[in-house]
C-alpha cells in the first residue's frame, strides 16, 4: 500500500532539466533509499515533495489525495517532514524552542514549560541524550540532527525525508541514528533516506530508487542487489559524443601540493598538475575539493607544501596567486564570480586594470580593444561589451569568467565545476576551449561532480573523500566504478 506517490514530476531550471517525468513511490513502514550521482535530481525531488519547489508538471499524492504543489506549509500540515542537508536550526534558541519553531503552542503567551516537557519527551523517545533546555549552539552536530528529527515529528508526521543525514556523523553516531530510524519505521512512518555511502544504504534501507540525469532508473527491493549493480545504475550511460577527443602531451610539473591541509575543510591533499595537462579533481559534494582550490589560490590559509614550477610558494591572497600566474573560475558564478551590474567587458578586464592605465588613468579605448579580442577568443555571445553580466546566459557568463584570466599568460587555471548549469552546446565550447588552452601549454585543474565530464576530459583523475585525496587514476584506468569506489570512501 503506497503512502506517498509522485507521478510524472518534471522540473526545469534555466539550462537544466532537473527532473524529467520522475515517478516515486513510498510505503508506510519502510526505509526507502534514494540514490544518484550529484545532479541526478535527488535534491529537486525531495524539494518538490516538501513543497520548497513547484514542479512544472506532475503530482504528488499522500494517502491517495493530491497535495497542493509548491506549498511547504501544506506539505508539513499533511505530515511530510524534511530534514535538509544544511540543518536549519536557530543556534541561539534552546533545543525545545527549535523543536517547536513555527508551531509554538499557547496564545497569546507561550506555554514554555509545556513545550519544553513535550520536546524533552520527544528527544528521549528518540533515545538521544539531548537536554531540551540547552541552546542549540552548544550541541554537537549529531545532537542537532536529533533536534531536527524531533522537530520533524511534532504533530502527525507520516513521511520523514533525510537528505544525507550521515554526511557529518561519526560511525557510532550513524549507528544511533539507524536505531532511531528503525524505531520510527516500526511505527509505520515512511522514511526516505538519501546517502552517498552505499554500505549505509544496505544497512538501513528496504527498497531503493535510483535517479540519473533527472530520470527514474529503477525502483527495487535491496535483497539480491549488490554494490556493483547500484553503481552501474547510478553512472551507467555512454560517454556520448559531447566530449571532444583529447591528445595531451604533458610537460613538466606546474603545480605541486603535498600534505596541504586546512581542517576542518580538508585534511590532506597531495597531487600535482603538469604543463598541458587536465587533472580532474573528483569526489562527492562536501569532499573538500573547492576548499583545496581556494587554498591553492591564496583564498584560504592552509598548512602543507605548495610549489609552483618547482619553487615553494605561499599565497596570502588571490591577488598574489594571480600575480604568480594562477586563475580560479568559481563554481558559484553569481555569488563569487560575476559583477552583475558591470558590463561584460568590465567583468573580463577587472583583474588586470593596471595594464590599461597610464599615469593612473585608464585608457578605455585600449581596455575595449583587449576585451573585444579576448571575447572573440572565447566566442562570447553578447549584445555588446557593455551588456550587463547579470543578463547573459549561463554559458556566456562562464566564458566571461574564463576570459577574465586569459588576458595575461597563465600557468595554471583552476576550473571549479566549469559546466555547471549551462546547456549542452555551451558545454562543448568550454571543453573545446580547455583543449585549446592545454595545447598551448596551460595546466588545468578541473573540479567536477559530473562523472562523465571527469572521465572524458581528465588526463588524470585525483579523487577526494571526506577531506583527503584517496588516490589517483590514470586516464586508462579511470572507470566510473573505480572513481565512485574511491569517492565513497574505499577500495573494497
Amino acid at each position: 500500500m503506497s503512502l506517498l506517490s509522485a507521478a510524472g514530476l518534471t522540473k526545469s531550471f534555466p539550462g537544466v532539466r532537473a527532473l524529467d517525468g520522475v515517478d516515486f513511490e513510498l510505503r508506510g513502514g519502510e526505509v526507502h533509499a534514494l540514490l544518484g550521482e550529484n545532479g541526478a535530481g535527488k535534491s529537486t525531488l525531495i524539494k518538490v515533495l516538501g513543497g520548497a519547489v513547484a514542479p512544472d508538471r506532475g503530482e504528488v499524492r499522500l494517502d491517495g489525495t493530491p497535495l497542493p504543489m509548491g506549498d511547504p506549509l501544506a506539505a508539513r500540515r499533511h505530515g511530510i517532514s524534511i530534514v535538509y542537508q544544511e540543518l536549519a536550526l536557530v543556534p541561539e534558541l534552546s533545543a525545545a524552542e527549535n523543536v517547536f519553531l513555527g508551531r509554538e503552542e499557547g496564545h497569546p503567551l507561550l506555554r514554555r514549560a509545556e513545550m519544553a516537557r513535550a520536546a524533552q519527551a520527544l528527544l528521549d523517545e528518540l533515545g538521544s541524550h539531548v537536554p531540551a533546555a540547552a541552546p542549540v549552539r552548544t550541541l554537537s552536530v549529531a545532537q542537532r540532527q536529533m533536534v531536527e528529527i524531533a522537530r520533524a515529528l511534532v504533530g502527525e508526521s507520516k513521511v520523514l525525508v533525510l537528505d544525507e543525514p550521515s554526511a557529518t556523523l561519526s560511525g557510532p553516531e550513524v549507528e544511533r541514528l539507524f536505531t532511531v530510524l528503525r524505531k520510527l519505521r516500526a511505527r509505520g512512518l515512511g522514511i526516505v533516506y538519501i546517502s552517498h555511502r552505499l554500505e549505509e544504504v544496505f544497512a538501513i534501507a528496504d527498497r531503493v530508487t535510483v535517479l540519473r540525469d533527472g530520470r527514474h532508473v529503477t525502483t527495487t527491493a535491496l535483497d539480491g542487489v549488490d554494490r556493483a549493480q547500484l553503481i552501474r545504475w547510478m553512472v551507467g550511460r555512454d560517454l556520448a559524443e559531447e566530449f571532444p577527443p583529447r591528445s595531451p602531451s604533458p610537460g613538466g610539473p606546474v603545480l605541486e601540493a603535498r600534505g596541504l591541509a586546512c581542517p576542518p575543510r580538508f585534511r590532506e591533499a597531495s597531487f600535482n598538475v603538469r604543463q598541458g595537462e587536465i587533472v580532474g579533481l573528483a569526489g562527492l559534494v562536501g569532499a573538500g575539493r573547492t576548499s583545496v582550490a581556494l587554498a591553492l589560490f591564496g583564498a584560504l590559509d592552509a598548512r602543507g607544501v605548495m610549489a609552483l614550477e618547482g619553487r615553494p610558494v605561499r599565497f596570502r591572497s588571490p591577488a598574489e596567486a594571480i600575480e604568480a600566474g594562477l586563475g580560479y573560475v568559481t563554481e558559484d558564478r553569481k555569488g563569487r564570480g560575476l559583477f552583475p551590474q558591470l558590463g561584460a567587458g568590465e567583468n573580463m578586464t577587472i583583474a588586470y586594470l593596471r595594464f590599461f592605465a597610464r599615469f593612473g588613468l585608464l585608457s578605455l579605448a585600449r581596455e575595449q580593444v583587449a576585451a573585444q579580442e579576448i571575447a572573440n577568443g572565447v566566442d562570447l555571445r553578447a549584445a555588446g561589451l557593455d551588456q550587463k553580466a547579470a543578463t547573459l546566459s549561463g554559458g556566456n557568463q562562464q566564458k566571461l569568467l574564463l576570459a577574465r584570466y586569459l588576458l595575461r599568460p597563465r600557468k595554471l587555471l583552476i576550473l571549479d565545476e566549469p559546466t555547471r548549469g549551462i546547456d549542452v552546446g555551451a558545454k562543448a565550447e568550454i571543453y573545446g576551449l580547455m583543449n585549446r588552452l592545454t595545447a598551448e601549454g596551460l595546466a588545468i585543474l578541473m573540479i567536477s561532480s559530473e562523472l562523465p565530464e571527469v572521465l572524458a576530459m581528465s588526463d588524470r583523475v585525483v579523487v577526494m573523500h571526506e577531506g583527503r585525496t584517496m588516490g589517483e587514476l590514470a586516464r586508462a584506468e579511470a572507470t566510473p566504478e573505480k572513481v565512485m569506489e574511491l569517492a565513497t570512501g574505499g577500495a573494497r
Partner: protein, 304 residues
Amino acid sequence: MIRRWVSRYGIFVALVAECLVLALATDAFLTTGNLANVLRQNAFTAILAAGMTFAILTGGIDLSVGSVVALSGVFCADALSRGSGLAVGIGVGLLAGTAVGAVNGLVVTKVGIPPFIVSLAMMLIVRGAAYKYTDARTISGLPPSFASLGQGLAPLAIMLAVFSLAWLLLMRTPFGRHVYATGGNREAAWLAGIRVDRVLLGVYVLCGTCAGLAGVLVASRLNAGYPKAGEFYELDAVTAVVVGGTSLFGGRGSVWGTLAGAFFIGILNNGLNLFHVEHYDQLVAKGVVLLAAASLDRWRTESD
C-alpha cells in the same frame, strides 16, 4: 529597460522639472541673488555627498562626516587664529578629515565592524572632540583673506572641481572600477585579485578628506571655527546620494547623480521657502522625497 533609464536619468529630469515649475510659479526663484544663494548654500552638502558616493558605492556609509565638518573647521580656525598662514590652516583642516577617514577605514577593514557602526561611533567621538578642543566656544578672529574662500562663487568652483575629480577617479582609474566591483560583489572582487581592504580604506580616506574640505569652507563662510557646525550634514549627504540614484546596496550610481540629488533637495528647500512653507513641513517633504527615491531603487533592483 524603463526601470534602468528612470534610475539613471530620473533625477536629472526631476531636477529640470523642479526648476521649471519654480521659475514659472514664482518671481523670486529665477533671480541672480536667489540662484547664487541656492548654489552656494548647497555646495557644502554637495562636497560631502561626493565623498559619500564612494562609501555608498561600496555598500558602506560614513555617518561621521557632519562631525568632521566641525572638527576640521575648528582645527583650521585654531591654526589661523594663532597666526598660521592660509595654506597651513587649510592643510590642517583637510588633514583632520583625512585622519578621521583613515581611522574609519582601518576599523572597518582590520577589525571588521560594519561601516554603519564604525562611523556612528566616530560621529560621536569626533563631535565630542570638537567641543572638548574648543571648550564649546567659537574660535573667531580669523584673517579676512580666509573669509573669501566661502564667499561669492568660490565654493561653487571648488565644488565643481571636487566633482570633476571624483568623476575622473570613479570612471577613469582602476581604483574607481574597483570601487564599483567591491560594491557589486565583494567576494568576487577579492577572488579577482582586487585588494578589497585597500579599496575600502581609500574610500573612507576620500570621504573624510571631502568632509575636511567642506569643514574648511564652512569655517570660512562663518569666518569662525564653530564646534556645532555641520550637525545633521551627514544625513543631508546620504539623502543627496540616494536621491541621486546610487544604490544603498552598492555597486551602482554616479557622482553626477549625486550632484543633481544634492541640488534637487536644495532647490526643494528653496522653493518651499519661497512658498512660505513652514520649516516643519519642509522636513516632511524631504523625508517623503527620500522614501520615494529609495522605493525607486528597490523597484529598479527587483528587475535584476
